[in-house]
């Protein structure tokens, strides 16, 4: 597994989605994940350290987790299948460990709020879009990253 940091969230000009760019903590490999605009927004708020006047859905998720006394140890992007990424959230409670299935968008938005580390399996890093993706990213205007570039 490799540890990743959220490098930025950018709008995909071709679709109504956003791209979360994860980058190796010790390295230069990146893993882009397409997410819905609501989840992209949730990730941006956490990156910018913005606390909105009312709790967002992911703030609520984190609040529930804190009240339950859960120890959220890590989130892992575990698989890609038919262009869908899968993630798991690892939680310890009362001495037992639970693995919760989640979309990577929710898992990342949650991890930034906990906070806890984000990983991807080597398999996912190998099978990500690869060269095609690099070409795609090169074409992107750096300004698209806007103020969220980290």
């Amino acid at each position: 597994m490799v540890q990743l940091k959220v490098h930025g969230v950018l709008a995909d000009p071709n679709t109504d989605t956003q791209i979360v760019v994860l980058r190796e903590d010790e390295g230069t490999e990146i893993l882009p994940i397409w997410v819905g605009s609501a989840e992209g927004h949730a990730i941006r708020l956490a990156m910018d350290g913005v606390v909105p006047p009312r709790p967002t859905s992911h703030d609520l998720l984190n609040g529930i987790s804190q009240h339950l006394g859960l120890d959220v140890t890590q989130v892992v992007v575990t698989d890609i299948s038919n262009n869908t990424y899968y993630a798991s959230i690892y939680v310890k409670a009362n001495g037992s460990e639970h693995t919760i299935d989640a979309r990577p968008s929710d898992a990342i938005a949650f991890a930034l709020r906990v906070p806890c580390p984000i990983y991807a399996t080597d398999d996912v890093m190998k099978r990500r879009a690869g060269e095609k993706l690099d070409a795609w990213l090169e074409k992107l205007d750096p300004q698209n990253f806007g103020k969220y570039e980290a």
Partner: protein, 151 residues
């Protein structure tokens, strides 16, 4: 005092470009409209229609989280209305204790439907919202606006 509310419908408000969850008290017929954002509206509509998505949505994840430790959602309560903002609390039982957590009504409702928890509103909130204004607004609505979410 609190009153149990049922979800009467979910509709699009073209004037505010947002969605309205309409709660109604079965006994008194009191209506409580709550404006919610698009992602929360779709979270509520999925649950109302009993649709399951291929991947867990954010409120499904909340349920997975509490299910993993056998906690239980007791109720979602719309507690206050201040400066046009509604406030809610979710009551959760865990082990021998229980706690309440601050939430937006949209999240509280989306979560309550999934966990089959009742939704309540404080009488104070029901009285505070300007009933007449809402009634007038509702009269102007075409039945089609309720669309397929009418229940």
């Amino acid at each position: 005092m609190i009153t149990q509310m049922k979800i009467r419908g979910l509709m699009f408000d073209p004037y505010n470009n947002s969605y309205i969850v309409l709660l109604r008290c079965e006994e008194t017929q009191d209506m409580l409209p709550i404006w919610v954002g698009k992602p929360e509206a779709s979270a509520i509509s999925f649950a109302l229609e009993g649709l399951s998505t291929p991947r867990p949505m954010t409120h499904d994840l909340m349920k997975l989280l509490i299910d993993s430790v056998d906690a239980k959602v007791l109720s979602a309560n719309i507690t206050d209305l201040k400066d046009n903002t509604y406030y809610a609390k979710i009551h959760i039982a865990y082990g021998d204790s229980f706690f309440s957590i601050d939430a937006r009504p949209s999240d509280a409702i989306a979560f309550a439907i999934r966990t089959e928890a009742p939704i309540f509103a404080s009488d104070d909130v029901i009285q505070k919202h300007d009933a007449e204004e809402v009634d007038r607004w509702l009269e102007n609505l075409k039945p089609e606006d309720f669309g397929k979410y009418e229940v």
